[in-house]
């Protein structure tokens, strides 16, 4: 178990280093920050001074080695835009994303398990057909379109909900709903499929021969066995949300890491881009470990 965690951690560190290397060079392809941060009519001397100050005058491989050296000392660089630690900026934005992701994925998983199980319990029923239709629409509707239409109707038209930003509970409603759509749609399909095969399995026959009540057969015996694939898909969806829902955060002005990332790329704030990548990569690593451990909790046959 401990050796398993160690093995996973060492693999992850290697891939994070690879990722950071890639990001370091790719962001520098976007152009020179001095073109953005200095006035258009600034002199060549001023530009050179700005470059020297931020280490941008060095050859790129020297910049990279310097970055690695700073990383080892847990120095993640300064934000050009905000003049403070880039990591601090990233860590301020991340909890906003995390809160939204946790709420969206928890609600959609719980709802999908309920709807999917009931649909599988009576395949072909009216409920099953409606659930299939709704989940298909949810899984395939483009989130930016739903978000914009939602703002038009509920914020601009009816004036019931705020258009963007954070603060009250009302600010949560539209971003959460939009983020839940796709996970809910996909998970209903997964739960329905795995529940159908679980309900047809021999141990369900045993449960019926034992005279167990129907809801105990469905939720106690079949559902417990169908959770593994659900956890796999839900985990995958959670990963994409933790990564920052760039589109949804941008549309609703949610100050999360996705919005920070896209803003920093546009503004060539290299240190912040690298820090956000490091934060989300670490979060995804922890999430994946948690999913693997959850497998072992759900299925006693899995041991690490």
């Amino acid at each position: 178990m401990i050796s398993y965690l160690g093995r996973r951690a060492s693999h992850s560190i290697l891939s994070v280093i690879g990722l950071l290397t890639l990001v370091f060079f790719l962001t520098r392809l976007t152009g020179d920050p001095s073109a953005l941060y200095l006035p258009l009519d600034s002199t060549a001397e001023a530009r050179a001074a700005f470059a020297r100050l931020n280490g941008l005058d060095q050859p790129i491989h020297w910049q990279f080695l310097g970055y690695l050296r700073d990383l080892l000392q847990l120095d993640f660089g300064e934000s050009l835009r905000q003049n403070r630690s880039a990591m601090q900026v990233a860590l301020e934005a991340f909890p906003e994303t995390l809160k939204l992701a946790v709420v969206a994925i928890t609600l959609s998983t719980a709802l999908a398990i309920l709807v999917g199980s009931l649909a599988a319990a009576r395949p072909g029923s009216i409920f099953d057909r409606i659930a299939s239709l709704v989940s298909l629409v949810g899984a395939s509707a483009p989130d930016f379109w739903v978000a914009i239409v939602g703002i038009l109707i509920f914020a601009v038209g009816l004036g019931l909900l705020p258009t963007s930003g954070t603060g009250s509970w009302a600010h949560w409603i539209m971003p959460t709903f939009v983020l839940m759509l796709r996970p809910f749609g996909l998970l209903v399909q997964v739960v329905r499929g795995t529940m159908l095969s679980a309900l047809a399995s021999p141990y369900i026959k045993t449960a019926r021969a034992k005279g167990l009540p129907r809801q105990k057969i469905i939720f106690g015996h079949a559902l417990r066995n169908s959770l593994l694939p659900v956890v796999t898909v839900a985990g995958d969806l959670a990963t994409s949300l933790v990564n920052g829902a760039v589109v949804v955060e941008s549309i609703f002005g949610w100050p999360g890491i996705g919005k920070l990332m896209i803003d920093s790329i546009i503004q060539r704030d290299f240190a912040v881009v690298q820090s956000t990548i490091l934060v989300t990569a670490t979060a995804i690593f922890i999430l994946n470990i948690a999913i693997d451990l959850l497998y072992a909790v759900l299925d006693p046959r899995i041991r690490y």
Partner: protein, 546 residues
């Protein structure tokens, strides 16, 4: 034994709805069983025997099942059309059931204790500590060692026989009036089978429950039955007192079944051993060994598991060597190494003067042509998307020198006829055949590369008794006509009695006894061989007379 009839099924007719038309699975079946009595329902696969009893417990899904007619009267209550709550008060409490494959029929994610306690709780009999104490007592009763610890184990942590004991414990928890056992020992080794059957008999004596046992195995049937009904094609073809049915079968189907029994009467059974005196040595195996390194845990050092432990034997041309052993004896590992599917840890095997473990490239190709394998599950070992023609002709695609392409079609037809099928079967797919026919196709495929040795790994174990005899007849006939040699691997000692020339008994990776078939059956020297022979169930009327 009281004569009070507890269950009376009359005129039961069940259809299964398939794509085009309903298929009648059970046709006008009637039977009854009394307290303390054992009724055996005997039939081969597809005879409708399981559907009949599943209907009694309302375990047939409707649709696709459809109960067309019939009544099930249980202790004065009509079971068909019973409401969900009334049904729950009978299932598990008054009628209980155990199944063929306990690993699949136990829920993998709950401890066995939890699954047994659930029976008490859901019927309001016991809960909490009381249920747990009773569960431990039950596990002790069915022979699980250290029940106070094992109660918290999961199904996969038990052996096959122990899992069936757990299933039995779950079924008898509330002392039901009827226990239905659907092929309860089919997946088990013969020595474990004997223990489970003993346990069922003891429990029946203790509780006075009625036992309905479903089986395809005539010996199991004979050893358990007071009365017997024989089913074929969804109909009851014969019914009566077990002893009379066995000694004087009336229906032609029953007669055929009993004649196909591989070890009914040694004198009457046809001898399928090779008549030719064995020729030169074809295969000589020396000190063959296969070790597996077991993963080391944090607190245990590395251990090795000896699947095959230093065995030597030889096969002569035209001879059949039977390798007999229970699961885990290493018999299949031997086959896999001889075919080059697994590498041995040590030892050599000389085939036609050359060590097969040293071969590579062209030589290995040439060797593989000469040694073919027939597997237990012919369906699993055939590509379902290939036609029979492609399956049989595939060896010729690989070994180009066997046959020119313009002769393939004629040769496939010839091979199909050789194994008792029709030339037009070449255009069909594997799923369009029965189990026995598929095994014939597998044999035709093996013959296509003109082998000298065929390794049969449990080749007839999955087949019905009457089909087993036909396939063995076919193999014996091919041996005579084509001069083949066989290594015939099985867990079922009686099957090889009239087929193998020599028998090798394996246990825990070693050979415990080896000898000419007649000598080995006549006077087994090793304890293990003797226990295997004795584990074959004896008819109830004989054991009761003793």
């Amino acid at each position: 034994m009281s004569n009070a009839t507890i269950l009376k099924v009359e005129g039961l007719t069940v259809d299964f709805l398939s794509d085009d038309q309903p298929v009648r699975a059970v046709d006008d079946v009637s039977f009854h069983v009394s307290r303390g009595e054992t009724l055996v329902i005997l039939g081969e696969s597809g005879s409708g025997k399981s559907v009949s009893t599943s209907t009694v417990m309302d375990l047939v899904d409707c649709p696709p099942g459809d109960i067309v007619a019939g009544s099930c009267l249980f202790d004065g209550v009509e079971l068909s059309g019973l409401g969900a709550e009334a049904r729950r008060s009978i299932n598990g409490r008054r009628i209980a059931m155990i199944f063929q494959d306990p690993l699949a029929y136990l829920n993998p994610v709950y401890t066995v204790g939890r699954q047994i306690e659930e029976v008490y709780e859901s019927h309001g009999a016991e809960s909490g500590k009381g249920a747990r104490a009773k569960t431990i007592e039950l596990l002790r009763r069915v022979g699980i060692p250290e029940p106070q610890n094992r109660v918290d184990f999961y199904p996969h942590q038990f052996s096959g026989g122990q899992r069936q004991r757990v299933m039995i414990a779950m079924a008898i928890a509330l002392k039901p009036d009827i226990l239905i056992a659907d092929e309860p020992t089919t997946a088990l080794d013969v020595s474990v089978q004997a223990q489970i059957l003993d346990l069922l008999r003891d429990l029946q004596r203790e509780t006075g429950m009625a036992l309905i046992m479903i089986t395809h195995d005539l010996e199991v049937a004979a050893s358990m039955a007071d009365r017997i009904i024989v089913m074929n094609g969804g109909k009851v073809v014969e019914t009566g007192i077990a002893r009379e049915v066995f000694s004087n079968p009336q229906h032609p189907y029953t007669r055929r079944l009993i004649a196909a029994l591989p070890h009914g009467n040694a004198a009457e059974a046809p001898n399928r051993r090779s008549t030719a005196i064995a020729g030169e040595t074809l295969l000589k195996v020396e000190h063959l060994t296969k070790h597996y390194e077991l993963a080391s845990g944090a607190f245990s050092s590395k251990r090795t598991f000896k699947a095959v432990d230093d065995i030597s034997f030889e096969v002569r041309r035209g001879e059949t060597l039977g390798i007999v052993g229970e699961s885990g004896s290493g018999k299949s590992s031997v086959a896999r190494m001889l075919l080059g599917l697994n590498a041995p840890s040590a030892g050599k095997a000389v085939f036609a003067g050359e060590n097969i473990f040293d071969m590579n490239g062209k030589r290995l190709m040439a060797f593989r042509r000469k040694v073919q394998m027939v597997f237990q599950d012919p369906y699993g070992s055939m590509n379902p998307r290939m036609r029979v023609y492609s399956i049989i002709s595939e060896p010729w695609v690989i070994h180009r020198d066997i046959l020119p392409k313009d002769r393939w079609k004629a040769r496939v037809a010839e091979l199909l006829e050789l194994v008792g099928l029709l030339p037009e079967h070449a255009e069909r797919y594997p799923h369009q055949f029965s189990g026995g026919q598929r095994q014939r196709i597998a044999i035709a495929r093996a013959l296509a590369s003109e082998p000298e040795l065929i390794v049969c790994d449990e080749a007839v174990s999955a087949l019905d008794v009457s089909i087993q005899a036909q396939v063995i007849d076919l193999l014996a006939d091919l041996r005579t006509r084509l001069g083949l040699s066989y290594i015939f691997i099985t867990h079922d000692l009686p099957i090889v009695r009239h087929f193998a020339d020599r028998i090798m008994v394996m246990k825990d990776g070693r050979i415990v006894e080896e000898g000419q078939t007649a000598a080995l059956f006549g006077a087994p020297r090793h304890d293990y061989t003797q226990s295997l022979l004795q584990a074959v169930p004896q008819p109830k009327w004989l054991t009761q007379a003793q």
